[in-house]
């Protein structure tokens, strides 16, 4: 079985993002970028499946500018076998990304698509679901554990108040939640090896899929600053303030 892992290059989770001066989005110029952390978990799970013998090959794919190559190299340093960069300078919304991924999954004859549940930049949590629908495959979202056996994949899903286990026929789409695994470090020798692994570049137009945007960003603004707290001297004073100032009781 071939596992396809879509990954996204996003502003690094350590970076304090700030809104671009024109309010069109967040500032990405000169900011550290790295692989979406949920995608790292997906890469790790795919590599583990291959190490366990449940998968034969792990292929990572990303949709983005030339610079997005670096997250593909990171994924290969973690153990993915090869990579595909679908090149575009546009920012695509989930529906368009799903169309691209569908084309790649079909071309690659993927048996499983394992991807992050959402990207930490736009928090859409949509691409996996749309992709499953477009492919007509079953989906196991918010996975916290997966087991592959006899042409099926069992996915433990994190839901409110517990875990739901679903059994899906393969091929399927699985989206990774935080607790699925803890991704390994890319070791220095593996980073060196990853530089020699195959990375194919596909121009987005050559896929002939619809990538038009349907959404418009109206504005992006920073949340209002939190006011400094005050110390109260007694419970009575607290109740008083809740009544008169906060007006919540």
């Amino acid at each position: 079985m071939k596992v396809l892992v879509p990954v996204k290059r996003v502003v690094d989770y350590n970076v304090k993002v700030r809104v671009a001066a024109d309010g069109s989005g967040v500032e990405t110029q000169g900011v550290k970028m790295s692989m979406n952390p949920f995608d790292e978990i997906a890469v790790e799970e795919a590599v583990r499946l291959r190490e366990k013998g449940a998968a034969k090959e792990v292929v990572v794919v990303t949709v983005g500018a030339q610079a997005a190559q670096d997250v593909l190299r990171t994924a290969m340093a973690m153990g993915a076998d090869r990579a595909i960069l679908v090149r575009t300078d546009d920012t695509l919304e989930p529906r368009a990304v799903a169309n691209v991924l569908k084309a790649i999954a079909t071309r690659e004859e993927a048996g499983l698509i394992c991807m992050g549940k959402q990207a930490i930049d736009d928090d859409m949590n949509a691409t996996g679901q749309i992709l499953a629908a477009k492919l007509g495959w079953p989906q196991g979202t918010f996975a916290s554990a997966v087991t592959v056996a006899d042409g099926r994949i069992e996915v433990a899903r994190e839901i409110d108040g517990g875990t739901e286990v679903v059994s899906l026929t393969l091929p399927a789409v699985v989206t990774a939640d935080l607790r699925l695994n803890e991704p390994r470090y890319a070791s220095l020798p593996n980073i060196m090896k990853a530089r020699k692994k195959p990375l194919e570049t596909v121009e987005i137009d050559s896929l002939g899929v619809d990538t038009a945007s349907r959404l418009t960003v109206v504005s992006v603004a920073e949340p209002a600053e939190r006011k400094e707290g005050v110390k109260v001297n007694s419970a009575a004073e607290l109740v008083e303030k809740l009544k008169t100032e906060a007006k919540v009781i």
């Binding site: 350590n14 970076v15 700030r18 001066a21 000169g30 070791s187 220095l188």
Partner: protein, 546 residues
């Protein structure tokens, strides 16, 4: 612990540290020996992530290293257009007249205001284009020593848990074997420290002295922005016995670089470099620049100030020191980039010769440095920083004017650095407390919100990388005598003294806040704080602009 099995890789040269010195060394090496295998490791998550500097840079070395840098889209875009040096009193400021004659080192004509982090990222690209293998996110944890000879470095282990056990993701560091190792870690580098001890490199030289630079980058309204404006100040808020001052540079797209350097030979245990920096912004000579602006980035780094008298032996079997690892900063000029780069270039030239002639020690580096402009530049200003330590700020400034203008750096005497910075602190009982203003949240801020803007992070579960060698000493010396100076000098709020009972105190170490400035390693009175290299990739994530 059992012996860890480590993988090995072999290179001709390994460079430790991706700052201006290390990158210049790597570039120069590939220019001289295109076929040499050159590997550069950097503990920051990317090149530039740990770089803090003003920075006004002199392009002199860049002209020598990459003469066509103007055609390579180098990020030197803001030329200095106006400059002034101010002496501050609490409410007023006086510009030093005839600056270019009184303080000739300060003349910045032809220099550029840059983000040094951005320059380093660009140098990294140039180095990679020449075939240097650059690995960010990997720290040099130990020197790899065989038969009293440095044969490379061992990178840090990853995935060790808080209790020292190997976690499920344990990845052992590897041996990067090299014929020559170039240490360019910046001020107070850890491997540099090991090498100095092991090979006695500081024998016969004066102690290194340091300053702590704390920096903010602001975005200000376009109508206030004057690209190329360079303003320095001395005097208030420091007393006459404390060396230091502020800088303010307008550069880039509506950006302002503001920072403050405090000489770490300060004596008053109650001094807080962070708060001196914050309150300087409230002075009328500075305040207007920040009004209506927004603070974007915060960071801090120690720098070496010892200069000429403190330069150690530069070579040892299997390796060399360059940049601020050795201490090539020119203090009166307030610049270290061009000297760091020059020393990196010279290191590469000496190392190339050693490789060609199959020598164990690149001993020619010393003579090469002594014959270069780097040496005379540092020699001519050697008395200025010690003069300030000896006679205070006002007389020191007077002396420096005489030394530069009349003696032109050729004084027949050399002033000394009598103490290391950890020896200068005075007991709390004889020190005056300093009443710092509370942060206003608009122009001045507290440590917590500041550290947030350094984007620093350390993998949570790793062992604490800042340790007390002896906990009792903290109680009897740091707490009882000096009233916990680390809680004030640390610009990242790593150290807090906590009362645990009546007359019982303990030191809380928030190691994850650390911005890798190394001040605690330098200033702790008994050198009781051990700064170990944390897991690679940790520490601040300074963006372009810093």
């Amino acid at each position: 612990m059992t012996q860890i099995e480590r993988e090995e890789m072999e290179f001709d040269v390994v460079v430790v540290g991706g700052g201006p010195a290390g990158l210049s060394a790597a570039i120069r090496l590939k220019q001289l020996m295109p076929d040499a295998g050159v590997c550069l490791i950097e503990k920051g998550s990317e090149i530039g992530a740990h770089i803090v500097s003003g920075a006004v840079i002199e392009p002199r070395t860049l002209d020598e290293l990459l003469p066509n840098w103007r055609d390579l889209d180098a990020p030197l875009r803001t030329q200095v257009t106006e400059e002034r040096m101010l002496f501050l009193t609490e409410t007023r400021s006086f510009a030093v007249p005839y600056l270019d004659r009184v303080m000739p080192q300060m003349a910045n004509h032809g220099n550029y205001v840059v983000s040094l982090g951005e320059v380093c990222r660009w140098l990294g690209e140039q180095a990679e284009a020449l075939g240097v293998e650059i690995y960010p996110g990997f720290s040099g944890a130990e020197l790899f020593i065989e038969n009293d000879h440095v044969s490379g470095v061992i990178t840090g282990d990853m995935g060790i848990e808080r209790n020292g056990e190997h976690g499920p993701n344990f990845t052992p560091g590897m041996i990067l074997r090299a014929k020559q190792t170039i240490l360019t870690e910046g001020a107070r580098g850890s491997l540099t420290g090991h090498a100095m001890k092991r090979f006695g490199l500081r024998k016969g030289v004066e102690p290194q002295t340091y300053g702590l630079g704390i920096k903010e980058v602001w975005e200000i309204p376009a109508e206030k922005h004057r690209p190329g404006l360079v303003q320095h100040s001395f005097g208030w808020p420091l007393d006459d016995n404390t060396y230091g001052g502020a800088w303010l540079y307008h550069f880039g797209e509506n950006l302002v670089s503001f920072g403050f350097v405090t000489g770490l030979d300060y004596a008053n245990t109650y001094l807080s470099p962070f708060e001196e920096m914050q309150r300087t912004k409230l002075h009328p000579a500075f305040r207007e620049h920040f009004e209506g602006g927004k603070r974007l980035i915060y960071g801090a780094r120690a720098l070496s100030e010892g200069g000429f008298q403190s330069i150690p032996r530069l070579t040892f079997p299997g390796g060399v020191l360059a940049g601020d690892s050795a201490g090539f900063l020119n203090v009166p000029k307030i610049k270290g980039t061009h000297t760091a780069m020059k020393s990196g270039m010279i290191a590469a030239e000496a190392v190339a010769e050693a490789l060609e002639k199959d020598k164990k020690e690149a001993a020619s580096m010393t003579a090469r440095v002594q014959q270069s402009w780097l040496w005379s530049e540092l020699r001519d200003v050697r008395n200025i920083r010690p003069a300030f330590a000896k006679w205070g700020m006002k007389l020191g400034a007077l002396y420096s004017g005489i030394d530069s203008m009349i003696l032109r750096g050729r004084a027949p005497w050399t002033l000394h650095h009598p103490h290391a910075d950890n020896e200068t602190l005075r007991p709390a009982s004889v020190c005056t407390k300093i009443d710092y203003p509370k942060p206003d949240g608009k122009i001045t801020f507290d440590r917590v919100s500041s550290v947030f803007l350094s984007s620093t992070n350390h993998e949570e579960n790793q062992p604490v990388h800042l340790k007390l060698r002896n906990e009792t000493v903290w109680q009897t010396v740091n707490h009882d005598v000096f009233d916990s100076p680390e809680s004030r000098y640390c610009p990242a709020g790593v150290y807090e003294q906590e009362q645990t009972g009546e007359n019982a105190w303990q030191l809380r170490i928030n190691a994850q806040n650390c911005v890798h400035c190394k001040t605690c390693d330098i200033k702790d009175p008994t050198q009781n704080i051990d700064w170990c290299t944390p897991e690679g990739g940790g520490g601040p994530n300074y963006p372009v602009g810093m």
